[in-house]
Amino acid sequence: MTSQDSEGELVSGALDRLLANFLPETTDPKEFWGAQFDTGLAWVDFPVGDGGLGVSPSHRATVDRRLADAGAPTWNRTANVLGIGMGSGVLVSHGTQEQRERWLRPMFTMDEIWCQLFSEPGAGSDVAGLSTRAVRDGEEWILNGQKVWTTLAHLAKWGLVVTRTDPDQPKHRGMTYFVVDMEGEGVDIRPLYQITGEAEFNEVFFDDARVPDDQRIDDVGAGWRVAMTTLMNERVAIGGSTVARESGMIGAAMDVWRSSGSGDLATRRELARLWGEMEALRLTTARASQNATAGVPGPEGSTGKLAWADLNKEVTSFTVAMMGLDGATIPEGYVLEPTTYDTREIERVMSPQRQFLRARANSIEGGTSEIMRNILGERVLGLAGEPRVDKDLPWKDVPRG
């Protein structure tokens, strides 16, 4: 018997026990998630005790499918995505035993929501240029500065924050990573209204916020390395999952054509072309996932985020154009209100006009398309990097503006 077979039996045995002892239809979701964590099925590839069984990540798909088929609650992954999708990997790769024991389980059960604080007004694509300061004061650190585009900050208990701890070092070397209490003193959270009028994101101001040293992740000065783990997980999470044919924005385009399209043949042809581009992306994602599972990942695993962002913008723009004069209206209107992120919110259907506006962020969030093209060019195709004028300068001497 190969180790893959025995791992498979371990996973399916755990699934059988979980689903037999905690019937999805009668168990409170939080209780179910707690049991799922304790059975090692939260992140099946994590170590035993950290919500996993220490098996290959390829078993994640099996767990997802079995739980979905059984009608188990899985929306914690969406509602607490920055914790369960990204923070968890950071804690497992870089956290201490105490930190993992303290944070992973309540993260998975949704008792504690997480957010991520990287971008700043002066540090967007160049996130390593960030200037939020953390200064040591005995067994504590004192934080001052501003973060932006912080999803879920207004609901979060914990935040993953990267700070500048040594301004005399070149920018990549002087950073340190912390978990900060978002409900603590000196943390001010304000909604950041976007072009749709909603506020999915927040601005966060640190004004002498205190963080105990035991909430530091990895070494002082290791912040960039830890941040890269987070960002890699983010880019895989965006545009990395195989979805059903004709789902997402192209599905909305098809609905518009059928319900209110002009019937124009050139438009029909263009819709078919875009449908095909989306299907090509979907098949490429499926191919990437098959190759990754088989242990032969190729360049197809890195193209999804860029292709998805560009196509979403193109398709949503085309959809609104198909609506004719209705495309010049927006049924929801504009109301400045924070997004609530409850389960109904996730299932809410936006108008094509609103999707068109929202899609503009697709090529900015999680790494701009320009940065993604740099990554494809340099890391996948092996092209030379841009000359960097700030690489060896102390961070404090780098021009900013």
């Binding site: 090509a280 098949l283 098959q290 360049p299 292709a307 320009e370």
Partner: protein, 374 residues
């Protein structure tokens, strides 16, 4: 909802690709292709002979008719490597003609015709287009009228791939109310082949003029109209060509990336400039998407429902991708990329011609639109 096919090549398919690559590296270099592209009848006969000996020409023809009985995935592997080297061999024509015969022919006709095609002894091609805007559904102007001993065919087929090198034509003709397929030998009285100077000279096109050509009854495939077989034959061509396009696009991307690493301007490799780097990144996305749909089409061509989507999808995505990548390849090479001595034009011409052959991209988009219910 259709689950994606398996995209992972079998060990045998990996080996087949390696064999093809080594074989073409030693026999089909691009200088030879460039020379051949100055002729009106480009064909690497030595490569064709070797491919025949390796059993590659009848790869997807049934074993009982002298082929190897493999699927379109194996054919896709071979075409990708041929495309990467723009190798002038009449395999695409042969695949289309043999598919038409396999779908429309009687048992006796298949036994009589397919073994010689599978062995490479006879080069066959499909002659169905007559006018510049014809597509798979167009009714031919060529007519077949009954005679004492069989049929008489009159008309002009145009844009026939590899006709100048072919011994056998599979010709569509109006036959009463229907459209049928006839097998005509090139030496038959009344048949004239006139080369058409081809944008992509590595895939020579020609007119096949039929002036009261007399054929026997057994030349009429299946003895009955069968327009569906024309679609099947062209679909086979589209799917084979899609992998050829992937190979060509891959070669263009590789050439661009190599050049961007070694060409210095302003004291640094041009690939370090985002203007070039980002172009290469977009080319990579196009190549990877084309690769996915080409393989998906090869794996599903036998599925009557899914192929209505996968075949037109392959035509649209692979044509657009190859054309974009081949054009960008010239741009990244700058002046040298515009010269005859450089390889870039061979791919660019192939890319443009491919997008126009076997029916326009638009005609396939219309078919895709039908299939997805819009």
């Amino acid at each position: 909802m259709v689950d994606p096919v398996s995209f992972i090549r079998t060990d045998e398919q990996v080996m087949l690709a390696d064999t093809m690559r080594e074989f073409l590296a030693s026999t089909a270099d691009l200088d030879r292709v460039r020379e051949a592209s100055l002729t009106a009848d480009a064909c690497f006969e030595d490569v064709w002979q070797s491919m025949a000996e390796m059993g590659l020409i009848g790869l997807a023809i049934d074993e009982q008719y002298g082929g190897a009985g493999f699927g379109f995935e194996e054919l896709a592997v071979v075409f990708e490597e041929l495309g990467a080297k723009v190798t002038p061999v009449p395999l695409l024509s042969s695949v289309m003609a043999s598919t038409a015969i396999a779908f429309a022919g009687t048992e006796a006709q298949k036994e009589a015709l397919l073994p010689a095609i599978a062995s490479g002894d006879v080069i066959a091609t499909l002659a169905v287009f007559e006018n510049a805007h014809d597509d798979a559904a167009s009714r031919p102007g060529t007519t077949a009228t009954p005679s004492d001993s069989g049929w008489v065919l009159t008309g002009t087929k145009r844009y026939v791939t590899d006709a100048v090198n072919a011994g056998t034509f599979v010709v569509s003709a109006r036959c009463g109310d229907g459209v049928g397929l006839f097998v005509i030998e090139c030496k038959t009285a009344g048949v004239t082949v006139e080369a058409m100077p081809s944008l992509d000279a590595t895939r020579p096109l020609a007119e096949v003029i039929l002036e009261a050509v007399q054929v026997h009854h057994e030349a009429y495939l299946g003895g009955a109209p069968n327009p569906g077989a024309i679609v099947k034959a062209l679909d086979a061509g589209v799917v084979a060509m899609a992998s050829e396009q992937v190979g060509g696009a891959r070669a263009c991307l590789d050439a661009s990336v190599d050049y961007a690493k070694t060409r210095y301007q302003f004291g640094r490799p041009i690939g370090s400039f985002q203007a070039i780097k980002h172009m290469c990144a977009d080319m990579l996305v196009a190549v990877e998407h084309a690769r996915s749909v080409a393989w998906h089409a090869a794996a599903t061509i036998g599925d009557p429902v899914e192929s209505e989507i996968s075949v037109p999808l392959a035509k649209s995505v692979c044509s657009d991708a190859f054309l974009k990548v081949a054009g960008d390849n010239i741009q990244i090479h700058g002046g040298i990329g515009f010269t005859w001595e450089h390889d870039a034009h061979l791919y660019f011409k192939r890319a443009k011609a491919d997008s126009l052959l076997l029916g326009s991209v638009d005609s396939y988009l219309d078919r895709l639109a039908d299939a997805i219910g819009i």
